[in-house]
Each structure stands twice: as structure tokens, then as C-alpha cells.
Symmetry: C2
Amino acid sequence: MTSPGTLYGVGVGPGDPQLLTLKACDVIRTADILAYPVNASGASMARAIAADVIPEGRQEFAVLLPMKVERGPARDAYDNAAGIISGHLEAGRSVAYLCVGDPLFYASFMYLAARLGADRAIEIVPGITSLSACAARTHIPLGGRNEILSVVPATLDADALKTAISGADMAAIIKVGHHFDKVRTALREAGLADHAVVLENATGGDERVTPLEDVGENETPYFSTILVRRKDLS
Amino acid sequence: MTSPGTLYGVGVGPGDPQLLTLKACDVIRTADILAYPVNASGASMARAIAADVIPEGRQEFAVLLPMKVERGPARDAYDNAAGIISGHLEAGRSVAYLCVGDPLFYASFMYLAARLGADRAIEIVPGITSLSACAARTHIPLGGRNEILSVVPATLDADALKTAISGADMAAIIKVGHHFDKVRTALREAGLADHAVVLENATGGDERVTPLEDVGENETPYFSTILVRRKDLS
């Protein structure tokens, strides 16, 4: 009987391929199967970041994850992917599942892993988060001394957003996308709009950094994070 | 006239040398001067993590940073180090300053950079944070869906700690060290002690993972982070 393979959750970082870790490169080069999420048009940001490291001819498995938040289709997609991955693991094949950023920081990997059962061997290779990337590109510190850093998903409702932002020394608002107008309103109401910077694709090829109030009224920054620092560290 | 050199703030990650990024390796291999903090006994965790990548004979500059929080000696140490680094930069030499974790995540690099003036060329190479390392080693997600993640320094006073912990879906309490008893009391009073895990040196050679209530009453976990997850993500 073959012993079961290991599933690796591999963080490939925020966008710059040079921000892969040595360990991520090693796992990508040696795993039997490479899996990664793709969107409806077949594009995979995770695969694109790791492309230079992927050996030619390696078996790949693209997991189509619905972008919409309706729970049903997403659940089916995870169930289906978990079934296929389980099959590989049972046959003794190792699987590296590539995740943009870090596998356990607001990423889809954990929903997949949860479906595989406690008996599976799972190893996490942490990655550089979009947060660290945003800080690096703006030189805005994420935190220091006695400061509290709050990481706040833009998917929260307006009141919850405002409460979370108002209480933090430093806030990072993630998953902004089409929630941008709601977030900007919350920041204005909290008196923090002038302290906020919008980052799109930090460290990636199409990076943009814009003070919040310089974003046009009809623009929706794509794949973005907003850093809000109440006062300078010094 | 030589053009001034660049100062690189290089995150070397949480402890496992395999968690260095490709970019960090590249900068460490090519910078003219390697700088890093050392403690009073001359040990440098940052240098130890990067040791395999440091070329033989490279010029090194150990920055002695007082561990005590008294502001005076620490300020003098930063002022002094900034002066020496400035000299190298003006002479056209590049300097890589190694930081455990990420240079802009509760690290000393930012206090050094602040002393160098806005005219210096500074580039940040982000690193894997202790947070991502702790998540990877315990499989505890840092955040997902609508969750707010709070990063809370253990240096806060007991009341501020309790408030910060009580409001978060997920909290990471950093810089625990000799604040352990205060933090444990705050977690008990917030009813969260049974949800807390203590990690020492996550991914490093002497890693320890202990449920909070299994830490002995007279133990002080060294170089530790506490993860507090209110409820499972599913």
C-alpha cells in the first residue's frame, strides 16, 4: 500500500515573483501536482506569480472558484476540488496548492483544507501578505511600539466598518474592490479620509498607489488595499 | 562625485532560513555592507537566520540595541547607527539592514530609517511575519470572510489589552515576553484563555507550541506570540 501524499498550502506572495520564499520554490519544484485557483476567464494570479519556478510538463489542476459570494456555487467548487485533491493524496501523490499572499490570511486555501478531514497530512508554507507589500511600497509602518493594527475586510457593513476603523491606531482595509464607495464614505465620516492611501496590485507589474481622495468619484480600484495610519510613528 | 548608495530594509522572516525570499537573498548577496541588530551578548537572530546566504568576507556592522525600553539609550544607539550608515551611503556604498520578520511590522528598522532623512534612497524588502509563521505552524487561520484581525502588543496596559482582545474575532498578541502573566490574566477575564495558544520561535529551531493554560504558573515563554481565535472559520 502506498502511504498518502502531503497537501502543501503554498503562499506565493503579493505579486512580485522575487517575493517567493526559498521553501515555496522548493515545494513548487518537487510536488507531484500543482493546483491553483482560476477565475471564470481561466486566469490564475497565483500561477502567474510562480510561473518561472514551475517545471515544464508538471501535472497541473486549475480550480475554478466562482468570484460571486453566493455560498452555493462556491461550496460546490470547493467540495469538487477537495474530492479531486483527496484522490491524488490517497494515491500517494503530493499536491502543492498555490495561494496569492499567505494561505491562512484571508485566502481560499483554508476552506479547501477544512474539507479534507483531520487525517490528511497538510503543511503550510507561509507567504508575504498583501499588507507587508503595501507597507513596503509606501514606507507606511504597519505597527510599532504600543500600536494596535486592525485588519478590516471591506465586505463588512458601513457601521461595522466605521467602528473598526475608528478604534485602530493603524488599519488595513482589505478586499476593497467594488466596496470602494462604501469604504470611502466610512473613512470620511470617521475623519480619516486624508490619512488613507489606496494600493492596487502592490509589488505586481501594474501597481498603483493613490491617496484616497485622489481616486475619481466613478473609479473602482481593482484588487486593492487601503492603509489608514492615524498618526506618524516617531 | 559618487552617487549615494541605497539602504535596504530586508525582512529575513521568522526563523526558518528557508523562509527568506529570493529578493532578500539577492540583496544580502550583493549589498556592500550588511547591518543587523545584536543584543548585549553579541547575538543576532537576524544574522543567524540569513547566515547561509552571507558571502564570506563581506563587511558587517553589528548595531547594539539596548533591550530595555528606557528611551534614552535606545535613542542614542539609533542615532549612532544612523550616523555610521549615513556615512556608508554618502560614500556610495549600499547597506542591507537585516530585520527578523518584516521591516515595517513592529520592527526596529523604521526608527533607524526615520533618522536618515527624506533624501536617502530606501528600499524595503518585505519578510514573512511571525504572525504568518504562527498560523502556519498551528493551522489557525489569521482571518477569513468578514472577520477583523487585531494585532495587539503585549506592552499595552491590562485594561487596553482586555478591550482590544474582547472586540476582535481573531487576535494576535505580540511581544509577549515578560508581559505573559498580565496577558494571561486579561485573557482569563475576557473569557478567552481556553481559545489561546502560545508560540515560541515559530518555524525556528527551538519552536514550542503550548495551549495558554498549559503554561506553568512560573514560566515566562520567551520570544512569543499568542493567537486567540474566538470561533472556528467554516
